[in-house]
C-alpha cells in the first residue's frame, strides 16, 4: 500500500533540502582562511551533516500514539496516529492563514509607500479579520488609533519610521 506523505514528513524533506542547499553553498566559501585544520567550512559542514541526518531520522521515524520518540513494539498499529493527524489537518482553516499572511505581505509592500500608520492599520485590521473578528468597523478604527499612537510614541523615542505626511501620519 502506498502511504500518504504526512505533514511531518514534508517537514523532514524540507530539512534535507535546506541541508543540501547549504552543502552546495559551502563550495563558495574560500578555504584559504583556515588554519590548524579548521577553516570557515568546518562548522557549516557539521551543521549540514546534522541537518541531513536529523531530517532523515525524522523522515524515517514512525509516528506513535504516545507522542514523539516513544518506543513501541514491532508490528504495532499506528493508524490512530494517522487518523489524529488527519483530524488536525481538517481542523486547519487555511483561509485564515492566507488572510494573516496576505496582511503581512501587503504591509511589507506598502510600508515604504503609504507610511507606518496606514500600513500598520491595514496589518492590524487584516489580523483581526484573520482571527474572526465580529465587529469590523470598530476594529478598523481601533487599528488606526493603535498604529497612530505607536507611530507618535516611537517618534518621540527617536525611532525613525516611514510616514505618509512627515511627523503626522
Amino acid at each position: 500500500m502506498i502511504r500518504r506523505v504526512s505533514g511531518e514528513q514534508w517537514l523532514a524533506i524540507g530539512l534535507i533540502v535546506i541541508g543540501l542547499v547549504m552543502a552546495w553553498q559551502i563550495g563558495d566559501i574560500s578555504v584559504d582562511a583556515g588554519y590548524a585544520g579548521v577553516g570557515p567550512r568546518f562548522f557549516p559542514s557539521l551543521v549540514v551533516t546534522g541537518l541531513v541526518v536529523a531530517g532523515g531520522a525524522l523522515l524515517l521515524q514512525r509516528r506513535h500514539r504516545h507522542g514523539p520518540d516513544t518506543i513501541i513494539e514491532e508490528g504495532a498499529n499506528d493508524s490512530d496516529e494517522l487518523a489524529a493527524e488527519d483530524a488536525a489537518s481538517h481542523d486547519a482553516d487555511w483561509r485564515m492563514f492566507a488572510i494573516v499572511s496576505g496582511s503581512l505581505l501587503c504591509h511589507m509592500a506598502l510600508i515604504g509607500i503609504i507610511g507606518f500608520t496606514l500600513a500598520g492599520t491595514l496589518l492590524c485590521f487584516g489580523i483581526c479579520r484573520g482571527l474572526e473578528t465580529r465587529r469590523p468597523w470598530l476594529d478598523l478604527v481601533l487599528s488606526f488609533l493603535l498604529a497612530l499612537g505607536l507611530f507618535h510614541l516611537f517618534q518621540t523615542l527617536g525611532l525613525n519610521l516611514p510616514a505618509l505626511i512627515t511627523g503626522v501620519l
Partner: protein, 501 residues
C-alpha cells in the same frame, strides 16, 4: 564581602539615580502590562520592547529591560491564573493549579501567593546572584577557549535534549538555529557565508527578528489557522483578595522550597523554567499532608506558591551564566544578550572589570524592580485584569504591528519584514509539529560564539582534537554532556521495557 561593597557603592549608587529609577519603573510597568496579555511570554515581551530602549543610554536600557523581564514574569502569572493560558513553559503549573483556585472563588489568594512568592524568590535569588556572580566570573577567567567551547557544547546538548519531549525535535530546532547563525560575515576570515548574494544578509539574521517571527508572527498564524474556535474564559475576581492566616502558613515553606529548586536550575545550561516548576509542584504534592493532597488538582495554594517561586528564582538564575560567562540558557536571556551586544557590551567574566557600574547597577535594579513589582501587582491587580479583556483579534493585531515595527526599525528595510514573515511561517510549523523553539534561539546566538571558541581552541592545540579530553575541566564538562545525551533515553527504554514486562 567585596561583592556587597560593590553592590552598595556602585550598584545602588547607579540604580538609585532618578533617571534609572524611572527606567526601572517604566520597564516593570510595561513588562507587566504586555506580559499579562495572553500568550505573550517574557521572551516576546523583551523582544517587543527592545526598540523602546534604542534612544536610552546602555545602563538605563539594560535596567529597563531587566524590569521588563521581571514584569513579564509577574504579569504571566496573572494570565495563567485567571485565563488558564500560560505565556511560557514556566507558567504551565501555576495555570494548572491557580486556575482551579480561581474557579472556586480563590483567585485573590492565588494571585497574592504568586506575587509575594515571586517577590521572595526573586529577592533571595538576587542575593545569591550578588554573592555568586563575582565568584563564578573569577572562575570563568580561568577558562580558556577549550573549556568555554566544551561549556557551549553542554549548553547545546542540554537545551535540545532536555527541553521538550523529543530529543530529535530539540536537535533539529538547535540545528536550524545554528544554520541561521552561520549566515553573514564569518568572523575570522571576514568572508560572507550563505548570503546567496543578498546584501541585507551580510550582517546576519538579527535575534530580534527571529524572536518576534517565532513568537509573535508564528503564534498569530497558528492561532488564526487552528484556534479560532477555541474559547477561553476569564475567571472573575470573586471572594477575598488577601491571603488568610492559613494561606500564609501554607505558602511560606513552598516559597522557600521553590526558590531552592529554581535558582540552581536557572544557573545550569540545562536551565529553563519548565523543569524546576514541575519539580517544585511534585515536591509540594509529595510533602503535603493527606488532607492537602486531596486538594491538589482542585486548587491547592501550595501548587501555586512553590512553582511561582521556582519560576522566578530560575529566571534570576539564568542571569548568572549570562552575566558571568556570556552564555544565554533561555530564549529571554538570548534576547537580553542581544540587547547587550546592541551597545557593544560583551557579557562574560570581564564584564565585572570593564563595566562594573553597569553590571552592579543592573543587579541593584533587580532588588528595586522586585519591590516595585510587588507594589505594582498587589494593589493594581484589578488594573492588569482589565488588560485581559482586550479582544483576542485586536491583541494579536497590536502585537504583530509592534513586531513588524521592531523588525523594520533595525535597518528600515522591507527585507527584514520578509525575513520576519518567513521565520513566522517556520514558527507556525514548529508549533504545529511540536518542535521546541528555545534550542533554535540559543543555537542562533551561541552558535557563532561556539565556532569562534572552537577555532581558537584548535589553533592553540594546532589542530589536535584530543585537547578537549586532556584538559580536566573540559573533560568533566564533556562527560556531563554525554550523560545528558545518553542517560534519559536509557531510562526511557528501561521504563518501556519494565512496562512491557
Amino acid at each position: 564581602m567585596e561583592s556587597l561593597n560593590a553592590l552598595f557603592s556602585m550598584g545602588f549608587a547607579t540604580a538609585l539615580t532618578p533617571a534609572n529609577l524611572l527606567w526601572a519603573l517604566l520597564g516593570c510597568t510595561l513588562g507587566t502590562a504586555i506580559g499579562v496579555l495572553p500568550g505573550v511570554g517574557p521572551a516576546v515581551t523583551v523582544a517587543l520592547l527592545l526598540p523602546v530602549t534604542q534612544s536610552v543610554d546602555p545602563t538605563g536600557a539594560l535596567i529597563m529591560l531587566a524590569g521588563v523581564y521581571y514584569g513579564a514574569m509577574f504579569g504571566g502569572s496573572t494570565t495563567s491564573i485567571l485565563l488558564n493560558t500560560p505565556g511560557e513553559a514556566g507558567s504551565i503549573v501555576s495555570a494548572l493549579e491557580g486556575n482551579k483556585m480561581a474557579k472556586i472563588g480563590r483567585a485573590g489568594p492565588a494571585l497574592s501567593t504568586a506575587a509575594i512568592g515571586s517577590f521572595f524568590a526573586g529577592s533571595i535569588a538576587t542575593v545569591l546572584l550578588t554573592l555568586l556572580a563575582p565568584v563564578i566570573a573569577g572562575f570563568a577567567l580561568q577558562l580558556g577557549p577549550v573549556e568555554t567551547c566544551a561549556l557551549m557544547m553542554l549548553t547545546f546538548a542540554a537545551v535540545s535534549a532536555v527541553l521538550g519531549n523529543s530529543p530529535l525535535r530539540g536537535f533539529i530546532s538547535l540545528l536550524l538555529g545554528l544554520a541561521m547563525g552561520l549566515i553573514g560575515i564569518e568572523a575570522q576570515s571576514g568572508q560572507p557565508r550563505f548570503t546567496f548574494g543578498l546584501l541585507p544578509l551580510i550582517d546576519g539574521i538579527d535575534i530580534v527578528v527571529v524572536a518576534m517571527g517565532l513568537f509573535a508572527v508564528g503564534e498569530t498564524l497558528y492561532s488564526a489557522t487552528y484556534e479560532n474556535k477555541v474559547k477561553v474564559g476569564l475567571e472573575s475576581m470573586k471572594g477575598k483578595f488577601w491571603m488568610s492566616k492559613d494561606d500564609w502558613k501554607r505558602s511560606w515553606k513552598p516559597w522557600l522550597r521553590g526558590t531552592a529548586i529554581g535558582f540552581p536550575f536557572g544557573t545550569l545550561p540545562a536551565g529553563g523554567t519548565e523543569m524546576p516548576t514541575f519539580l517544585s509542584y511534585s515536591a509540594e504534592k509529595k510533602l503535603a499532608d493527606a488532607e492537602t493532597k486531596k486538594q491538589f488538582g482542585k486548587g491547592a495554594i501550595e501548587g501555586v506558591a512553590g512553582p511561582e517561586a521556582a519560576n522566578n528564582a530560575a529566571v534570576t538564575g539564568t542571569l548568572v551564566p549570562l552575566l558571568t560567562l556570556g552564555i544565554p540558557t533561555s530564549a529571554t536571556a538570548a534576547i537580553m544578550l542581544s540587547a547587550f551586544q546592541q551597545y557593544n557590551i560583551v557579557p562574560g567574566p570581564l564584564l565585572f572589570d570593564t563595566n562594573p557600574e553597569l553590571v552592579w547597577g543592573l543587579i541593584a535594579s533587580l532588588y528595586i524592580g522586585n519591590v516595585m513589582l510587588l507594589v505594582l501587582n498587589l494593589p493594581l491587580v484589578g488594573l492588569w485584569v482589565q488588560f485581559l479583556k482586550v479582544p483576542r483579534p485586536l491583541l494579536y493585531g497590536g502585537i504583530v504591528v509592534l513586531a513588524t515595527m521592531g523588525a523594520y526599525a533595525l535597518r528600515q528595510s522591507w527585507f527584514d519584514l520578509m525575513l520576519l514573515y518567513i521565520i513566522g511561517v517556520l514558527g507556525f510549523l514548529m508549533r504545529r509539529f511540536d518542535f521546541p523553539v528555545v534550542p533554535l534561539v540559543v543555537g542562533l546566538i551561541v552558535g557563532p560564539m561556539a565556532e569562534k571558541f572552537f577555532r581558537r581552541a584548535m589553533s592553540i592545540s594546532q589542530g589536535d582534537l584530543s585537547v578537549f579530553v586532556t584538559h580536566p575541566i573540559s573533560l568533566t564538562i564533556l562527560l556531563v554532556t554525554v550523560a545528558i545525551l545518553v542517560v534519559p533515553p536509557l531510562l526511557k527504554r528501561r521504563q518501556a521495557l519494565l512496562q512491557a514486562a
